[in-house]
């Protein structure tokens, strides 16, 4: 069974960066795919990768991470760019969505400017891999 857990921004907003990352990583290590409202800051993203690497073990191979962020595109006109800047100013990191999942479940996250595909590994294949170890 695949578990998706949505985390509203308000639930982690008050936490310091390190606690926020610890919380997200703990959920991922429970084999859950976390959907976080908004995005992590670039520094938090690297901190998440650092912590993930510290925790890599026989059972935890790491994470797949993807941030979907509605930023302005290069081809936008001035009004669109201003609108994006204003929304960014008002909402800050609340905009967009962050997907974090265990690498043992998410095989790949494919992203192009218009869509995001989360490709998971089948449970049967995962069990077969685990039994081989």
């Amino acid at each position: 069974m695949l578990t998706l857990q949505f985390i509203p921004r308000a639930e982690v907003e008050h936490l310091p960066s390190s606690s926020r990352i610890r919380r997200l990583l703990a959920l991922v290590k429970e084999d859950k795919i976390v959907l976080l409202e908004g995005r992590l800051s670039p520094t938090e993203e690297t901190e998440l990768i650092q912590r993930t690497m510290e925790d890599v073990s026989k059972d935890f191979k790491g994470i797949e991470l993807c941030t979907i962020y509605p930023g302005s595109s290069h081809n936008d006109n001035l009004i669109s760019k201003l609108r994006h800047s204003l929304i960014g100013f008002l909402l800050g990191d609340r905009q967009g969505l962050t997907v974090i999942g265990p690498a043992t479940i998410i095989k790949e996250i494919r992203r192009d400017p218009n869509k995001v595909q989360v490709i998971t590994e089948s449970i049967r294949r995962r069990k077969r891999r685990n039994s081989r170890r």
Partner: protein
């Protein structure tokens, strides 16, 4: 009097600039060709290689520094310490190394060292004065690792040169990288064959001041 003082200060700042060695980092995902590019730079300017490049991911598992590389071209001078970093990844599975005919013991050891390498590479980010981000132009540029590295450098206000490597390979697509990072001027090169390397050095002179 004022002109003399300005001249003196300029000369003084020039002296300090000459003494200070800029740290130029090579960052990117595993197997994008960071060490191959480091070797190309070192061979071209100091006549020796810097490290071992391999088709097996995570060959560089420790930060490697080559000190005092000096580039001279058309009256311009550039001196820097080149820092080759391990590839940044969000997952490391020792089973991926088994595909390269590696023993389970060696693969596990490599995976362990690779995780430490990623942590080390991230820690070094703060120490860099300028960074070359090396991307594999045959691969999808929209990976989160690429976005995280470039986002971090932008947030830290570190000057960045984005390079699309492996342009000699048929499946290379430089336009995809340009579309993914429209705010940067992407230089397409083949570090292995030396293709377009002059344009890369030109961009490097502009990047490191």
């Amino acid at each position: 009097m004022m002109t003399m003082l300005t001249g003196f200060l300029r000369r003084l700042s020039f002296l300090f600039r000459r003494r200070r060695h800029v740290k130029l980092g090579l960052y990117g995902p595993p197997n994008s060709g960071k060490t191959t590019l480091a070797n190309r730079i070192c061979k071209d300017w100091i006549g020796e290689e810097m490290g071992i490049a391999s088709r097996i991911p995570h060959e560089t598992r420790e930060v490697v520094i080559k000190e005092k590389i000096e580039m001279k071209s058309r009256g311009r001078f550039l001196s820097f310490n080149l820092v080759d970093t391990p590839g940044i990844a969000t997952k490391i599975d020792y089973e991926d190394f088994l595909k390269y005919n590696m023993s389970a013991k060696d693969a596990k050891q490599r995976a362990k060292e690779a995780t430490k390498g990623v942590i080390e590479a991230i820690k070094w980010l703060d120490d860099m004065d300028s960074v070359i981000v090396v991307l594999d132009s045959t691969k999808d540029p929209y990976s989160q690792v690429n976005l995280t590295i470039i986002g971090n450098l932008a947030a830290r206000d570190i000057p960045v040169l984005v390079v699309g490597n492996k342009v000699d390979v048929r499946s290379s697509n430089l336009r995809r990288i340009q579309n993914a990072f429209p705010q940067y001027n992407i230089i397409g090169i083949s570090a292995l064959r030396g293709k377009n390397i002059e344009a890369f050095y030109e961009a490097l002179f502009k990047l490191v001041r």
